[in-house]
Symmetry: C2
Subunit: 229 residues, 2 copies
DNA sequence: GATTGACTCGTACGGCGTACCATACGAGTC
DNA sequence: GACTCGTATGGTACGCCGTACGAGTCAATC
C-alpha cells in the first residue's frame, strides 16, 4: 500500500481552472531518469540487497507496477544505475599535456573513486554490459596510451591489464571494507594460525589499510612494466 | 540451534555397507561435505541464481530444512562452495626451482583457471571472506616473491597488485564470456558508434578473444614492473 | 523403559519480481 | 459531444524464495 496520502492526490479542488502558478505539490511524473536517480540513492543507502522494486516505488511515491512502464525489469535498473555512476569529466585542466602517465593515473584513480563512492557498483559491474560511460573511459585510455607510444600490438593487452587492475582493486576494496575491529580480528585469527601462514602474518597483509596508497603504488609498477622506456 | 561441528560420525558400524550390491535407493546421509559438493554441481549447472535451498535439498534427496542442521544459512553454502573450489596443489614438480617467476605464473594461472572452471566463483569471490585455500595461495605467493628478492616494503603492494590483476581478469572473463555472435554484435554496435569510440574500434578491443594469451602477457608486464631487476 | 542428543523435515510466514488487467487522461478524429 | 488510441498508473495475484518453529525419528546410554 502506498505509504502516504498527503492529500495532494485527492481531487479536492474546487475548481479545475488552470492555475498559472505551477502546482508543485504532487510528485513529479515518473521518468527513467528519476527512477535511476532514486535507485542510486537507494543503493547508496541500503546496498545491493536493499534495492527492491517495492521500496523503489515507495520512495518515488508510485505504485510498483508503474516502474515497469519505464524500465524493462530489475536488471535494467541495475544496468542504468551502474552506468550513471561512471561518468568521467576528464582531468581538471584539459591542457594538451605531454604527461600521459598523469592522465592515465588520474582517470583510473577517478574510476576507482567513483566506484568506491557507490560501493555496490563494484559488485555489480562484473555482471553487466559495457555502458557508454565505460566505453568512453576505455576510449580515452586507449588514446592516451597510444600517444604515450605503446605499440599497437600491445595495446589491447595494456588496456585489459589496467582494466583488470582497477577492477580487482576496486572490487576487493569495496568488499573487504571491514571495520578496524573486523580487520584486527581477521589478522588475529591469522596470527593464531601463524604456523600455517607465517609470511603473510609477518607482513601484516590484512592490517595494511592504506588502500589508496597501495593502489597508486601498484599502478605505478604496472605502468612501469607497460611503458616502453 | 546452531549446527555444531560434529566431527565424529565415523563411530558408525565398522562395516554395514560391506559388499552386497549397493542398495541403489536410499541416499547416503547428509553431511557438510555432501552439501558443498552438490552445491558446486548445482552452481556449475545453473549459475549463482540457480542455487536455491529447495533445489539443493531436492538434489540431495532431503528436506529443505535438514540442510540447516549442517550449514548456517545460504551465505554459508556460498562461502564453503567457493573455498572448496580454490584448492591449490602446487606446481607439477616441486623442485626447489630458482624460477620464482615461473612459480608465480603457474600459481596465478591455476588460480584463474580454477575460477573459470566454475564461473560463478568469480562473481562470488568479491563478497566473501578469505577462506583457508585463498590464504594458502597468498602465503605461497608472498613466500615466492620474498625469495625472488622483492623488498619487504613493497611486498604488500606486490601481493595486492597480483591479486587485483588476477581478480580483475577472472571476473571480467567470466562475465564477458559472450558467444561469438554476441561479441560480433557488440563490436558492430561499436562500429556504428565509431565516431565516438574510434580508437578502441580500430584496435578491435572487443573482438580479441585470446583471453589466456592476454592474461599471460599482461601478467608478464606486471611482473616486469614488480621485479627489481 | 526413560532419557538424551543428533538429525530430519512439514508447515508457515513474510518478502520478492513481475504477469495480467482495469483504469485514467489528453489528443486527435468524426 | 462521442469515439478511439497512445501513454501512463497501479491493484491484485501467482509462484518462488530464505528460513523460524517445533514435532518427529532413531540409536546410544542409563
Amino acid at each position: 500500500m502506498a505509504a502516504k496520502r498527503s492529500g495532494a492526490r485527492s481531487k479536492r479542488g474546487i475548481n479545475e481552472r488552470l492555475q498559472p502558478v505551477q502546482e508543485p505539490r504532487s510528485e513529479p511524473p515518473l521518468s527513467r531518469e528519476r527512477i535511476v536517480a532514486t535507485a542510486v540513492e537507494l543503493l547508496d543507502a541500503q546496498g545491493v540487497d536493499g534495492l527492491t522494486m517495492r521500496r523503489l516505488a515507495d520512495r518515488l511515491g508510485s505504485g510498483v507496477m508503474s516502474l515497469y512502464w519505464h524500465v524493462d525489469n530489475k536488471e535494467d535498473v541495475f544496468d542504468l544505475a551502474l552506468d550513471s555512476v561512471l561518468e568521467y569529466r576528464g582531468p581538471p585542466q584539459m591542457v594538451e599535456s605531454r604527461d600521459w602517465r598523469g592522465e592515465v593515473v588520474h582517470m583510473l584513480e577517478d574510476w576507482r573513486a567513483s566506484m568506491l563512492r557507490h560501493p555496490w557498483s563494484a559488485s555489480l559491474l562484473p555482471r553487466r554490459a559495457l555502458g557508454p560511460n565505460i566505453l568512453s573511459r576505455l576510449e580515452l585510455l586507449s588514446n592516451t596510451l597510444s600517444r604515450a607510444g605503446v605499440a599497437d600490438a600491445d595495446m589491447n593487452v595494456a588496456i585489459w591489464s589496467l582494466w583488470n587492475y582497477v577492477m580487482g582493486a576496486t572490487i576487493t576494496r569495496a568488499s573487504f571494507d571491514l571495520s578496524d575491529d573486523d580487520r584486527a580480528a581477521a589478522q588475529q585469527r591469522l596470527t593464531r594460525l601463524s604456523d600455517r601462514y607465517p609470511t603473510i602474518e609477518r607482513s601484516r597483509l590484512l592490517l595494511d589499510n592504506d588502500w589508496g596508497g597501495t593502489f597508486r603504488k601498484g599502478l605505478g609498477f604496472l605502468l612501469d612494466g607497460l611503458s616502453p622506456g
